[in-house]
């Protein structure tokens, strides 16, 4: 079996020009049959979760692991989608995630451009200083950050939910790495035409950065959407909550056993749909990426 590694736009879905011989065909078919079966097994937990969201709570209590949602019910989804607050939470989550993603990409790409392209003194120690931020767990600086926003009277606002991790060392790292791969010749051609740094940033480097930008969009949007600890303490107000926190509170485990499982699973999928859509839109940018003609060293 030949592991042909050729970048192809999956939308085309075409077979390659070399028609494989029968023997190879069989092995390929077998391989993909097994792969399909393994993927199905791998997806079982998700299937269980989806099924649970359509089952009555009492059925779940009686038989936790059933994979077939019969008798079928939409009551959990009705409860969640019918809750007036939930749409408010969606708006909050979406706005916060979108804002943070946009601002983060803007300021981090500007900084990454500086690291990747502009020679300046102290670049290396500054870069290390930035990378330090990658290694500290948020739990350790939660209280100082919380106090900062309390002093600014910014809790229960979008600003407080957006701001942490806007200056993301991870984003900076990814972008810098990527920018460094872009051949400098392209820059130089532009400079010789009289372009400023900013123009090179806007016209040369950023357009070529689509794959990493798309990756970051997905990553940051998702990360912000699923954030738990920070919105828990910062957005305590019912109207200010995000979907992740709101749904968590909506289906609390009161007592010490797992309850409202169906409701929680319905909430999980409802909460996950926007991100899924986001992913579907942006993943094409990653996969049908720009190919660089002379990029390897």
């Amino acid at each position: 079996m030949s592991a042909v590694v050729r970048p192809v736009d999956p939308a085309q879905g075409s077979r390659d020009g070399r028609s494989p011989r029968r023997r190879v065909d069989l092995r390929r078919v077998l391989f993909f049959a097994i792969f399909g079966a393994v993927t199905f097994l791998w997806m079982l937990p998700a299937i269980w979760s989806l099924a649970a969201s359509f089952r009555h709570e009492s059925d779940i209590q009686r038989d936790l692991i059933g994979l077939i949602p019969l008798p079928f019910t939409l009551e959990h989804y009705e409860r969640i989608l019918g809750d007036g607050l939930v749409s408010r939470w969606f708006v909050n989550s979406f706005a916060v995630a979108a804002l943070r993603t946009a601002v983060q990409i803007l300021i981090c790409s500007l900084a990454a451009f500086a690291f990747a392209r502009i020679p300046f003194r102290g670049k290396r120690p500054l870069f290390i200083l930035v990378l330090l931020g990658l290694m500290l767990p948020f739990e350790a600086i939660l209280i100082p950050v919380y106090l900062l926003f309390a002093d600014l009277h910014l809790h229960n606002t979008w600003a407080a939910l957006v701001a942490p991790d806007i200056a993301s060392p991870l984003a900076l790292f990814l972008l810098t790495q990527f920018f460094q791969e872009i051949p400098k010749e392209l820059d130089e051609a532009a400079y010789m035409d009289g372009a400023s740094r900013l123009t090179v940033y806007r016209r040369v480097v950023m357009p070529l950065a689509t794959p990493v930008l798309a990756t970051l969009v997905i990553f940051t949007f998702l990360g912000t959407w699923n954030e738990y600890l920070w919105p828990l303490v910062s957005a305590t107000d019912r109207d200010a909550m995000t979907v992740t926190i709101g749904l968590r509170k909506l289906a609390e485990t009161f007592g010490h056993q797992v309850r409202d499982l169906g409701l929680k699973m319905a909430g999980a999928w409802v909460g996950g749909i926007p991100i899924l859509i986001f992913y579907l839109i942006f993943q094409r940018r990653i996969v049908s990426g720009i190919r660089l003609t002379s990029g390897f060293k």
Binding site: S58, Q61, R62, D63, L64, R79, D83, G84, L85, V86, N92, A95, L99, A102, V103, L106, I107, L110, L142, I143, Y146, L147, A150, D151, H153, L154, H155, N156, T157, W158, A159, A160, L161, V162, A163, S196, R197, L198, T199, L229, L232, V233, T236, D237, R238, D239, A240, G246, R248, K249, L250, A251, E252, T253, F254, G255, H256, Q257, V258, R259
Partner: protein
């Protein structure tokens, strides 16, 4: 050129400004004649919007929400704003206290009161209660002790909850443990318990006290009950941790023995409860909060659990006792709070106090003697069966080091139950860890 260079700066500033502006526009303005009430018990504002009549609901969130709605309807000048927390709500509370913006009223487990009171985070309520019409003498003994610290009352209790014995009468009958009037023959003391255990094992193959190793109820609270039943205590005379004593070890060894004999169950507690509901396990240890839920199951004609009885936690030792706890309302405005604000808060607490009976319909036990004596209370489903457990409730230690108590005891006892450590080692490690926490004070 200059304009272009300034562009990124401008864009960033614009972005920052718009973020802050958008954020500020979303902020909720504070009102002065408003009470900020924080509680766990779930989030259900939308569900009960406008509902002010309790009806016969037994859902914990419903009762709290409707009580708040009813208050708001009658007191437009003093509105209560409810914020729901993820139980136990400590993360949110600590953050708010650190920032100096605590709520006016908060639901707090009783055993945490000394920790917060000693640090001046809670407002002493003794002087406000009589004025508001809350009679402290009406409180059950152990509850009163649980909310008192240094002579001051710091909370208005909401309920007593605890570990109970939930029984499937059909299976008990198979084991010959049900009398002519249909009531279970409750064993008292170790010998009777062992005999009953054997009867149940022989008849049904299931433990007489189904339990679980993955939950604090099945580890720390069972042990705490056994310890209290033999007159022991996890606290010494000076209020310091005392869990590595001969009594503690004896309780743990009894626990281990009964487990080995198949009398006390093991495994995952969710599975045990599932089996109980399916009629496969004779009886289980579970909380007061399960009563409603399982009662509803019984009402379903297709349910396997048909005859359901709730007894106090089995008395395996010398005296009746079982783990218990209490939810309470506290006023975390600190020692120097504005008296008017506190008075307003206590007014709402009086409202909750008056409706204590309504709260007990959720399955929890009352905190008031007068309610306990009332016929309505005694008529609540199953309540008469496990009445009185509140008087023998063995609470978690109410001390400064209580914050880690449940979690540490659960972990160390679990290690012993699962065979990772010897019983002596587990208790000695627990003691060391509790002493470590106490040393931070």
């Amino acid at each position: 050129m200059k304009i272009r260079r300034a562009l990124p700066r401008f864009v960033a500033a614009a972005a920052l400004t718009s973020v802050v502006a958008a954020g500020a526009a979303q902020s909720v303005a504070a009102q002065t004649s408003e009470l900020d009430l924080w509680r766990f018990f779930n989030e259900c504002t939308s569900q009960f919007e406008g509902v002010t009549e309790l009806g016969d609901t037994t859902d914990v969130c419903a009762v709290q929400q409707i009580l708040a709605n009813a208050w708001n309807a009658e007191h437009p000048e003093l509105q209560v704003k409810t914020t729901s927390l993820v139980r136990p709500g400590i993360v949110e509370l600590n953050a708010a206290l650190a920032a100096g913006t605590p709520p006016d009223i908060m639901s707090l487990h009783a055993f945490r009161i000394p920790t917060y009171a000693s640090k001046g985070a809670l407002t002493p309520l003794t002087s406000y209660l009589a004025e508001a019409g809350i009679d402290v003498d009406d409180l059950l003994g152990p509850v009163r002790d649980a909310v008192t610290y240094n002579g001051e009352v710091y909370a208005v209790p909401i309920d007593v909850h605890g570990a109970l014995w939930h029984i499937n009468l059909d299976l008990w009958e198979k084991a010959g443990l049900v009398d002519e009037s249909g009531n279970p023959k409750i064993p008292v003391g170790l010998e009777e318990f062992k005999a009953a255990c054997k009867a149940v094992l022989d008849a049904t193959g299931s433990p007489i006290l189904g339990s679980g190793d993955d939950d604090v109820l099945g580890t720390a609270w069972v042990w705490a009950s056994l310890l209290a039943q033999n007159g022991g205590s996890p606290v010494d005379a000076d209020g310091m941790p005392n869990v590595s004593t001969p009594e503690a070890l004896a309780a743990l060894n009894t626990f281990l023995q009964l487990r080995a004999d198949g009398c006390i169950g093991s495994g995952e507690i969710a599975k045990t409860y599932e089996s109980f509901v399916n009629g496969d396990v004779a009886s289980v240890a579970a909380g007061t909060w399960q009563v409603n839920e399982w009662d509803k199951q019984v009402a379903d004609p297709a349910a396997a659990l048909k005859r359901y009885y709730v007894a106090p936690f089995p008395q395996i030792g010398d005296q009746p006792a079982s783990w218990g706890g209490s939810h309470t309302w506290v006023v975390p405005l600190g020692a120097n709070a504005d008296p008017e604000q506190v008075k307003a808060a206590v007014q709402y607490l009086k409202h909750a106090w008056d409706h204590n009976l309504d709260w007990t319909r959720t399955g929890h036990a009352t905190v008031r003697q007068s309610v306990a004596d009332s016929p309505e209370y005694q008529a609540l489903p199953h309540h008469s069966e496990y009445l009185g457990f509140g008087e023998h409730a063995a609470y978690n230690p109410s001390t400064m080091w209580s914050v880690g108590y449940d979690q540490i005891m659960h972990e160390e006892l679990q290690a012993a139950l699962l065979g990772q450590k010897s019983a002596e080692q587990a208790l000695s490690d627990a003691q060391a860890r509790l002493v470590d926490i106490a040393s931070f004070q």
